[in-house]
């Protein structure tokens, strides 16, 4: 890494947002927060200016007035050129590159999903291309059972077989088990770390992966940052947002980083969340499923094909704005936005019990259907349709509109055939077709 591989915009971002070695003493100048930085970028955009313009004193004054951020503070930050040069030289000397949202290789999905909460700076080692490749995030607690470890391994293997990148938080336990497996197997890994980037980057375990461009280690914190709980929690969202799906192997209930990250994801609906369901899982797993996560049974990852299909069948239901893994590509890339298919593909090998029972229900439904009115009453239907902006089960609709359940089911079935409504699984619900399927389907509102 040469010092000039860091773009001018990124250098200014470092000046504004990084401590550059300064402690948190009283009279020190505190760097801009993510929100303040975002405000600055927006302001500059509106004036059609870029960051380098900030070396002009007048511009700083203007922004200070506009944003009410202290002028002295801004000026101090931007004048730290000496410290910047020393810091940049030290980082690049250790092989670390630095990206800001202005750089081409900065993963766009962080901006798409987090908007102004996207980290202004990413420090990393390894292949930058991998940042935008999406993949499967595998997360879980640091202390895990033997079965949990096996699960992480298995899933790791399947990822490699299906050429899906693994994303991990790099922590002890589930995170690093998954990473090791995939790396040893020859697959790609994106490790988003909360701390100790440098330490990890010189670890012999990862050297091969780095050399072969199959590994990228990245952090949003200063490379020298030691572990703090706060940082670990904060980085969880980045792990989710960079992925296409996330699997929780094991989670505590109502405490710990895994729980916090998973619930955050459910709240924000970033990516589909699978949670392992097995005889040994801790309470947290069950609770997450209650909250709307998709249960992941051992049968679903008993083999690479099975797992692939499992993922495939989930993916069409994701929000349009999510960039989705294309499993048919030579290597899973996430640069294409999937078209949402018109009809459901009922998986042949699916072992999800709920689906089965719905299939049966639907089969049973058919003969009865012919006896009810095939086309719903337009007035009533209009109201029902409105309700279907967010997914609802047939029971909910029946209750709400005081219509007979079998009548509702008949109407729904008809509308699904026409393509006006989509049928979602796990649990079975219905939603308006042209609303763009949202992630709500699997979240209980």
């Amino acid at each position: 890494m040469t010092t000039d591989s860091i773009t001018p915009a990124t250098r200014v971002t470092l000046l504004l947002c990084n401590r550059l070695g300064q402690g948190k003493e009283n009279n020190s100048t505190s760097p801009l927060s993510t929100a303040e930085y975002a405000a600055l970028i927006q302001w500059l955009d509106s004036k059609k200016l870029n960051l380098s313009g900030l070396f002009e004193q007048d511009l700083i004054k203007e922004f200070a007035q506009f944003s009410r951020i202290d002028y002295v503070r801004l000026n101090n930050l931007i004048s730290r050129g000496g410290a910047l040069a020393l810091a940049i030289e030290e980082w690049t000397n250790k092989g670390i590159w630095i990206l800001s949202p202005h750089d081409e290789k900065y993963p766009k999905r962080l901006i798409e999903r987090l908007a102004h909460k996207a980290p202004p700076l990413l420090f990393g080692v390894g292949n930058q291309e991998l940042l935008s490749n999406g993949g499967l995030a595998v997360v879980g607690s640091r202390e895990i059972s033997e079965r949990a470890r096996m699960a992480a391994h298995q899933i790791g293997h399947h990822c490699v077989k299906n050429r899906i990148q693994l994303i991990s938080g790099g922590a002890r336990g589930v995170d690093s088990e998954g990473m090791q497996t995939v790396l040893e197997d020859g697959g790609n890994v994106l490790g988003f770390l909360a701390d100790s980037l440098i330490k990890m980057s010189v670890n012999g375990k990862y050297r091969q992966g780095l050399k072969e461009n199959r590994l990228v280690l990245v952090t949003a914190n200063d490379p020298r940052t030691p572990f703090t709980v706060g940082n670990a929690m904060a980085r969880n969202k980045f792990v989710y947002c960079l992925s296409d799906w996330t699997v929780v192997i094991s989670s505590s209930f109502n405490e710990g980083g895994t729980w916090a990250g998973a619930t955050e994801n459910l709240k924000n609906k970033w990516v589909p969340l699978f949670v392992r369901k097995d005889v040994d899982v801790p309470e947290g797993n069950y609770r997450l499923i209650d909250k709307g996560a998709i249960p992941l049974l051992p049968e679903s990852f008993s083999g690479p094909e099975v797992f692939r299909n499992f993922l495939k069948n989930i993916r069409w239901a994701t929000d349009k704005q999510c960039v989705v893994c294309d499993l048919s590509a030579p290597y899973s890339t996430s640069n294409e936005i999937e078209k949402i298919p018109e009809s459901i593909q009922v998986p042949v090998h699916s072992e999800v019990p709920i689906k089965k029972s719905n299939e049966k229900a639907r089969d049973k439904q058919k003969p009865k259907k012919s006896k009810s009115a095939p086309v719903p009453d337009p007035e009533i239907w209009h109201c029902v349709e409105d309700e279907l902006k967010t997914p609802k089960t047939d029971k909910e609709l029946a209750l709400q509109f005081k219509i007979e359940l079998k009548q509702v089911k008949a109407w729904l079935s008809e509308e699904v055939k026409k393509g006006e409504i989509k049928k979602l699984t796990g649990p079975v619900r219905y939603v308006k077709a042209n609303e763009g399927v949202s992630l709500d389907r699997w979240v209980k509102l």
């Binding site: 890494m1 040469t2 010092t3 000039d4 860091i6 250098r11 200014v12 000046l15 550059l20 070695g21 300064q22 402690g23 020190s28 100048t29 070396f55 101090n76 931007i78 004048s79 730290r80 050129g81 000496g82 410290a83 910047l84 040069a85 020393l86 810091a87 940049i88 030289e89 030290e90 690049t92 000397n93 250790k94 092989g95 080692v125 390894g126 440098i198 330490k199 980057s201 010189v202 670890n203 012999g204 375990k205 990862y206 050297r207 091969q208 992966g209 780095l210 050399k211």
Partner: protein, 699 residues
């Protein structure tokens, strides 16, 4: 605004150099103005004494008055010279330094920096390669308004003095944004070096360059092959030259020997090298500045920034490798004098010395690959001692490899704490670059010899070589004058005396006190501290390898397989008349060799005869060993010898013994054998060697 600034600057100049009528030299004001008003990045190539430091003192003062933070000065000097500090103080600048020799003051300096009390912080380049220091420096570097890089030619590997530490400085400078000013200064850079620096620091780098000639400097070259001749010449001619000056040598040993000789001949001369301790160095520098001594006999360690306006002479005892290093040293003379001498004496050993430097400039490819291989194997990295244990490389060889690797981009090795780790890059030595640079060094040596030949004006030759556009005949040198300025041949008598002096180059062999860690020494598994009853007594070595005295005869003897009997005579004389160990040894034994069975034995026998003592061959070598001089660190040296010897206890005597060997290097052979002999029941053991071959870095 600009006028006020100029007036202010002029006032500061006049205060600083205590001259109410002083005016700026050409270019000085422009540099100050650009630094202060435009945060310019500038390279200044001007001869020593032009006033580079005044420029950055004034710029710093003005920037500070504007409210900027302190200036950071990176210089290889230990401390600013006293007259420079005085000038800085006169204009109210508070200057502090952080270097390896003022640890106790560091905390104070950091506090003062935080409190914004310091105007100019001076650090040495090696400091920037130290992680801990960087950590401390970083927070206080937040407000630096001006970077000053002294001896900037060290950045360029086209230059004569390329230093790996400067590569890190270069990278730091490349990362400086436009709102921090930069001043790079040097007195010695030819066009190629300047081009190189500009290409690395960016084309926005402004250039200020001045002429190099020293009007009052008179040059001459003299060829005197032997050391004795040159030493005689120095003793004869230095007293004839007015004022005080410097004699430059290429090696530490030479600086010591020549200083001793001159002192012996009544000239107030002192040795100065990288091996002199810091305090003494400072004392000597001041003494020379104040004309309290006549001459400093120095290696190139006396270089950077040493500025004595009234330096009366610079004489070179041996040819340096290039005319640019020659100029850097000789160009110091005559700044403020009407007449000063720059004399180059060429000796027969010069080429060998320069070749050694050229060869050892880059670490061997084998060493690099070996170290990288070991690092790849280690998941948790390795420290230098750990690498020593795993390889047969010396501490210096290992650090040289890391110095070179630290310059490569992307870095193949990363340092964290005290350990090195293999980075995840594919690395191959840049053979092309090494060849280019080696070839360059050979060309430069050629240039040096062309200078010696004196076909044209000596000063003009130097100027042209350095790309000075104002090169013209000087009319002062021996070539322009058509005759020698100082006599070319020393008196016969003095040469003989110098010869004799060279032949009295004996020194003590100090006993070792500690076994190396990690080895248990046979036959009794000794380790740790070496107790007194097993220790060798202080011993004696007759000469140094290739010292121009007895060392030459020893060299010949090793080559021929038989030592001239003059050596036994000299050794006997040394023991009986000068060394006079007490108690005197009563018998003689020697270190055996399986390879050359009779070489040392014969010599020891002869010596015993002359001393009138019995010679007892009581040590046997039981297995072959590798050549000790190939063993590069203590652990390897001792392992090589461990268990290779056996004492025949029936033959030993319980009284003091002289233990003879031809060479002494690391002293481990003597240490192990002394312990074994003592343990077997002999009296005190006196190590005795013909010559000392310890080859440290010879500067």
């Amino acid at each position: 605004m600009g006028d006020t600034l100029k007036e202010k600057s002029l006032a500061l100049l006049r205060t600083a150099i205590e001259n109410p009528d002083a005016e700026f030299r050409k270019g000085q004001w422009e540099i100050i103005e650009q630094l202060v008003n435009e945060n310019a990045h500038l390279l200044v190539v001007q001869r020593t004494g032009w006033g580079k430091s005044i420029v950055y003192f004034i710029a710093t003062r003005l920037l500070r008055d504007k409210g900027c933070g302190p200036a950071l000065l990176i210089s290889p000097l230990l401390a600013l010279m006293r007259n420079q500090i005085a000038a800085a103080e006169r204009i109210g600048l508070v200057a502090r330094t952080i270097n390896s020799s003022n640890h106790e003051e560091w905390e104070n300096v950091y506090s003062e920096l935080k409190e914004n009390k310091i105007d100019l912080l001076l650090i040495s380049p090696e400091r920037l390669s130290n992680d801990k220091f960087r950590e401390k420096l970083l927070p206080v570097a937040q407000t630096i308004g001006l970077f000053v890089i002294d001896e900037a030619h060290c950045i360029s590997d086209w230059g004569h003095d390329f230093r790996p530490d400067y590569q890190r400085i270069l990278r730091i400078l490349q990362a400086l944004p436009e709102n921090v000013a930069l001043l790079a200064t040097t007195a010695t850079a030819n066009d190629r070096v300047i081009e190189d620096i500009r290409s690395q620091l960016g084309d926005k780098l402004g250039l200020s360059k001045g002429p190099l000639a020293r009007a009052s400097l008179s040059l001459q070259t003299i060829s005197l092959p032997s050391k004795a001749e040159r030493m005689a010449w120095l003793a004869e001619n230095i007293p004839k030259i007015d004022g005080s000056g410097i004699v430059y040598t290429m090696t530490v040993r030479d600086s010591e020997r020549v200083a001793q000789w001159l002192h012996h001949k009544g000239i107030d001369a002192y040795a100065y090298s990288g091996e002199t301790d810091n305090e003494t160095r400072q004392t000597l520098e001041e003494a020379l500045l104040e004309n309290k001594i006549k001459v400093l006999v120095a290696t190139s360690a006396l270089g950077m920034g040493f500025d004595k306006p009234d330096l009366g002479f610079v004489i070179h005892y041996q040819r340096p490798g290039s005319i640019i290093s020659y100029y850097q040293q000789v160009g110091r003379a005559g700044r403020a004098l009407d007449q000063a001498y720059g004399i180059l004496l060429a000796g027969e050993e010069d080429k060998e010395i320069v070749d050694y430097f050229i060869k050892s400039a880059f670490p061997k490819e084998d060493h690099v690959n070996l170290i990288l291989k070991e690092l790849e194997k280690a998941d948790d990295g390795l420290s230098v001692p750990m690498i020593e244990e795993r390889t047969n490389l010396s501490h210096t060889q290992i650090t040289n490899v890391f110095k070179m690797l630290s310059v490569e981009t992307p870095a193949p090795v990363i340092k964290e704490g005290s350990r090195y780790y293999a980075a995840a890059t594919e690395y191959a030595i840049n053979k092309l670059k090494i060849e280019r640079l080696t070839s360059l060094r050979h060309t430069e040596w050629q240039q040096m010899n062309d200078y010696m030949r004196g076909a044209l004006c000596l000063m003009m030759y130097l100027q042209k070589g350095l790309g000075d556009p104002e090169a013209k005949p000087c009319s002062r040198c021996s070539v322009c004058q058509g005759r020698p300025l100082l006599p070319e041949k020393p008196s016969e008598e003095l040469v003989v005396e110098a010869c004799g002096f060279l032949y009295t180059n004996y020194h003590s062999i100090e006993p070792r006190l500690q076994w190396p860690s990690g080895v248990a020494v046979s036959p009794e598994e000794w380790h740790g501290h070496i107790p007194e009853e097993l220790r060798a007594n202080p011993g004696i070595a007759l000469s140094d390898w290739g010292d121009g005295g007895w060392g030459e005869l020893v060299k010949a003897g090793k080559r021929d397989g038989h030592f001239d009997n003059k050596l036994a005579g000299a050794m006997c004389d040394l023991i009986v008349n000068r060394w006079k160990p007490d108690p005197m040894p009563t018998w003689v034994t020697c270190v055996p060799s399986l390879r050359k069975k009779t070489l040392v034995k014969n010599f020891a026998g002869e010596l015993a005869d002359l001393l009138g003592l019995p010679f007892v061959d009581c040590i046997r070598k039981t297995r072959e060993t590798d050549l000790q001089k190939l063993m590069k660190n203590s652990v390897q040296q001792v392992r090589n010898l461990n268990g290779a010897f056996e004492i025949d206890e029936s033959k030993i005597m319980g009284c003091p013994v002289l233990l003879v060997d031809d060479m002494v290097d690391s002293r481990w052979t003597f240490t192990i054998l002394a312990a074994m002999l003592r343990s077997a029941g002999t009296g005190p053991v006196y190590p005795c060697a013909l010559t000392n071959t310890l080859g440290k870095d010879i500067l």
